[in-house]
């Protein structure tokens, strides 16, 4: 398949969300892994609860709320400045090692690239610029435009609307199994980057392709 465009999820797919674990471990010794995991889980939970309850707030706001809950739940001795420091990590998450090379190869094939993320536009611009990736993307699509988070249909619909082609003609790439599955439901051709060796979500739907890093996208378009 040569897709009309390729859309990438950002957090966890291009940028390493769990890299916050290292800094959290420095700030709160022995708790880094639990902080990173609970923060991420709660962040996703809040995006879903707010979406289901029609109470949208920006991804950055939700992320800060999730961090505060994490500090509460783990009884961290956390002053606001320590949490603010962890929050700022989101502005400069590192890209996974292979990302730059894979995007360069895709660009050489004249396939339009984009991102489709829960993050609000200004956050995406900062993140992608900090990781040196901004110039690769013709489309920077944010859930903020429709004020609801994944996996609601209006978010996924941003892709076909921006590209001007049906979802099935677009390759959607995510490292989040739930995102890859729900995008498949929506109608995209999908590639799940299963970086962590996670089992397939039991949702009764499977991504079209699966790989262990972003290199799988190169195989998917051959």
């Amino acid at each position: 398949m040569k897709p009309a465009a390729i859309l990438f999820d950002v957090f966890g797919t291009l940028l390493d969300v769990y890299s916050v674990q290292t800094r959290a471990e420095q700030r709160f010794p022995g708790q880094g892994l639990r902080i990173a995991q609970l923060w991420r889980d709660k962040q996703l939970e809040y995006t879903r609860l707010r979406s289901l309850s029609s109470r949208y707030e920006s991804f950055s706001r939700v992320t800060r709320d999730a961090l505060q809950f994490t500090a509460d739940a783990l009884r961290l001795d956390a002053r606001a400045d320590a949490l603010d420091e962890l929050m700022r990590l989101y502005d400069a998450l590192p890209a996974f090692p292979e990302v730059g090379d894979v995007l360069a190869r895709l660009a050489a094939q004249d396939i339009p690239l984009g991102v489709l993320s829960n993050g609000e536009g200004p956050l995406l611009e900062r993140c992608l610029a900090a990781a040196g990736l901004r110039g690769r993307f013709a489309h920077v699509l944010s859930a903020d435009a429709v004020r609801v988070f994944k996996t609601a249909a209006p978010v996924y619909q941003l892709g076909p609307d921006a590209v001007g082609r049906a979802a099935r003609d677009i390759l959607f790439v995510s490292s989040n199994g739930w995102d890859a599955c729900c995008a498949t439901w929506f109608g995209y051709t999908t590639c799940w980057i299963n970086r962590s060796g996670a089992p397939l979500e039991r949702l009764g739907v499977e991504p079209h392709r699966t790989g262990t890093d972003l290199g799988a996208v190169l195989a998917a378009i051959d």
Copy 2:
């Protein structure tokens, strides 16, 4: 406040979901707690993903899928009959110790009682009958009637529709912090039964009352 009716969440609020931990521990020694926690987390996650993606399936189906994922993720040596045995526990979850007495006291005050749950009707009927509670409830309200799960508004709207009064005149009781918060957003007067000493969810909304067991409902209506 003397409410026009009191509606209870079921799983975790009246019936002890984590009691499956004991049986899981017997079947899979050393893994009982992780199985119970991941099963519950994944069950909730799937209700939300299916709701957001408009791919409703019954709570029992979602619960079975979540259990299968749990077995996959924890690499349990689990034949189908072992999982089926854990699933059958859902038909006979024990009520928390104080539940029978509190419901009897409320019934004596002529306040109509009901349940409002993600569980489908037949599951609720089996559960409540097995726990000896069915006769206490005038209303058995299920998300299945609207084919979407909490915290979507159509589920909470089942309450006012059944009772014939505004949500603010109805006391909604849940041990799940997210349920109590989102029901407050919806408009109910709410009581959060914080059985586990969990921190408040950081959603920018607070339940009207909080207690540590169902006895808090008696205090709330005085």
